[in-house]
């Protein structure tokens, strides 16, 4: 722990005030509340959904919203409210699973090429250039097209493309951290490269990654539901917001509630993640 004491000596003075500052930011608080509620719904959908999301009732087909069915029923008589609630577990899972592996791979690769530079860094630069030459969605759906539609393949496709953005960010951050005295001190003390990279540089370089991760989770929900809508992501009868909107699309003038409600869930959750991301970015920006 001794080598950490230097940074800890500085940090605790600011820490409590930052949390207080966060609590005073309305945008951040709204975002945090939305994501807290969404997470509870995602973890315990059965507690909040009044019906089984896949229970088919042909006697109650395409009913408008009522006390019995707050969001109406769909073309098979399934309760739309319950389907939107159950979709929380799929779409919130998407926010995490479509981003976390990209983050981990990107952070490790970015830290290594940023630390060692040289030929690996040059190759990395060209790979980044090549991947950002494709529109994100185009490359993701091309990979899904090859692997086949479905949630797992969608996660693989997004990870294969998405790690580049984390790696690029991490590389730049590690390079800028290398200019600090503590990094040189580590080298002079004869610490191993891995120890310097992962115990010293990484904790100091991680903040922009966390901010980007929040925005990326919002994007993952938008992207995942878009793929669901296009028929390439989650597959029916699974309740997923994009799939639900696609199911209601042909009845949008007669049964508008089918597509409208899942869309509101997407917008709210996406908003929640971006507000948290903005709030964190605001707090971490150097004051003055």
């Amino acid at each position: 722990m001794s080598e950490l004491s230097l940074s800890q000596d500085v940090a605790p003075v600011q820490k409590p005030s930052r949390i207080k500052m966060a609590l005073r930011k309305p945008g951040f608080m709204v975002g945090a509340t939305i994501i807290a509620i969404s997470s509870v719904l995602a973890l315990f959908p059965g507690v909040f959904a009044p019906y089984d999301p896949n229970f088919i009732d042909y006697t109650a087909v395409r009913q408008p919203p009522s006390w019995l069915h707050p969001f109406g029923t769909d073309l098979l008589g399934r309760d739309s409210f319950s389907r939107v609630i159950w979709a929380y577990s799929v779409n919130m899972q998407m926010a995490v699973l479509a981003t976390i592996f990209a983050l981990l791979i990107g952070v490790v690769i970015g830290a290594l090429v940023g630390y060692y530079r040289g030929i690996a860094d040059m190759i990395f630069g060209r790979v980044v250039d090549a991947i950002i030459t494709f529109p994100f969605l185009v490359l993701v759906i091309a990979v899904v097209a090859v692997l086949g539609p479905g949630l797992v393949n969608m996660y693989i496709a997004i990870t294969l493309v998405g790690w580049v953005y984390y790696a690029r960010l991490m590389r730049a951050e590690v390079i800028s951290q290398m200019g600090n005295d503590y990094a040189s001190a580590g080298i002079v003390m004869g610490y191993s490269d891995l120890r310097i990279i992962f115990r010293h540089l990484l904790p100091n370089a991680i903040t922009p990654i966390v901010v980007y991760w929040m925005t990326d989770m919002a994007l993952a929900i938008l992207l995942g539901s878009s793929l669901g809508y296009l028929g390439l992501g989650a597959q029916p009868p699974q309740a997923e917001w994009g799939v639900l909107i696609a199911e209601g699309r042909n009845f949008i003038t007669t049964a508008w509630w089918l597509s409208l409600m899942p869309g509101i869930a997407i917008v709210l959750t996406g908003l929640g993640f971006s507000l948290i991301g903005d709030g964190i970015a605001d707090l971490l920006r150097p004051r003055g």
Binding site: A130, P135, A142, A145, S226, L230, T253, G270
Partner: protein, 313 residues
């Protein structure tokens, strides 16, 4: 002279990137489990068809030779034949590309019209209610998936109020503008949310710059300052930002074309995917990559033309 040198350097740098792009597209179909020849020929192909494709793609040859075939064929404009449309991939793409480019240019124009004045209004009134309102609305806009925006516009403006056609593409230029208005607005709402955010920050930066402060101190009327200094610099940022968001623009166009049944390359991509038409998927992926890198290049050259300092770095 420096300008020509910069352009040449920039073009040379594109060569390794292009090679990697080709490797990615080449490996894409090789990710397929099993024999790519069977996948490319389709389920109904005969053994002879599959053998012919194997021969044509050189699938019996080592991987390096295969890549060489793929590269030289592509450079000669031979992207293979589409299984779905039974025609050369290049012809199919070239027939659909103008529609997508029309939609993209239309959408970009609209997003400048939407984001430009609002970003300006927000930046000038920084921290006041106008700024907060504009930012809040665009924040919500950023959280809306493109297909959802499209579906809402389609339902209310086309299906309910019958102000716009539900589908179709139009014959004359004006007819096209009318038919593609809702798709263009859909894409524009999405891209203007990205543009507005960055443009507001860019304008604020210019407002705080020393030369603007100096112009103020000199007592120049604020209309002149805004018009001559701030607006001019904001235009430069707009072009750069639009250039950099070409990827998002293309992604937005792809989804919008599907929602509104616009016959462009975006919708063709999905048709190709559902038909498992791999030569077409490869050709389209390459087309998008070429579009994006050309726009990146143009943005770069435009920037270096406006700001000669860029050529030095």
């Amino acid at each position: 002279m420096a300008g020509i040198q910069y352009t040449l350097n920039r073009l040379v740098l594109m060569i390794p990137t292009f090679l990697l792009v080709m490797i990615i597209i080449f490996l894409l179909v090789r990710l397929l489990p099993g024999d790519p020849a069977i996948a490319i020929a389709g389920d109904k192909a005969s053994d002879a068809d599959i053998a012919a494709i194997r021969e044509k793609l050189g699938l019996n040859a080592p991987l390096w030779t295969q890549f060489w075939f793929f590269l030289t064929n592509t450079l000669q404009g031979d992207l293979g034949r589409s299984i779905l449309l039974r025609a050369p991939v290049l012809d199919v793409i070239l027939a659909r590309l103008p529609t997508t480019i029309f939609l993209a240019v239309y959408a970009v124009s609209l997003s400048i019209l939407i984001a430009g004045p609002l970003a300006f209004l927000a930046a000038v009134n920084r921290g006041k209610w106008q700024d907060n309102l504009i930012r809040a609305v665009f924040q919500v806009g950023l959280s809306m998936p493109v297909f959802y925006i499209g579906l809402i516009l389609l339902t209310f403006l086309a299906a309910q109020l019958r102000l716009f056609p539900v589908g179709g593409y139009g014959e004359t230029f004006l007819d096209r503008m009318y038919h593609l208005f809702l798709p263009a607005v859909t894409v524009a709402l999405y891209t203007s949310a990205i543009l507005m955010r960055n443009l507001r920050a860019a304008i604020i930066e210019v407002l705080d710059a020393e030369y603007v402060q100096f112009a103020r101190a000199k007592g120049l009327p604020s209309r002149l300052i805004l018009g001559r200094h701030v607006l001019k610099n904001a235009l430069i940022s707009t072009v750069t930002l639009l250039g950099l968001s070409i990827g998002q623009l293309m992604s937005g166009t792809l989804v919008t074309e599907t929602v509104f049944a616009v016959p462009g390359v975006g919708r063709l991509m999905l048709e190709a995917i559902f038909a498992r038409d791999y030569p077409l998927i490869q050709g389209l992926t390459l087309t998008f990559a070429v579009l994006v890198s050309s726009v990146f290049l143009m943005t770069d050259l435009f920037q270096s033309w406006l700001d000669p300092r860029m050529r030095l770095s």
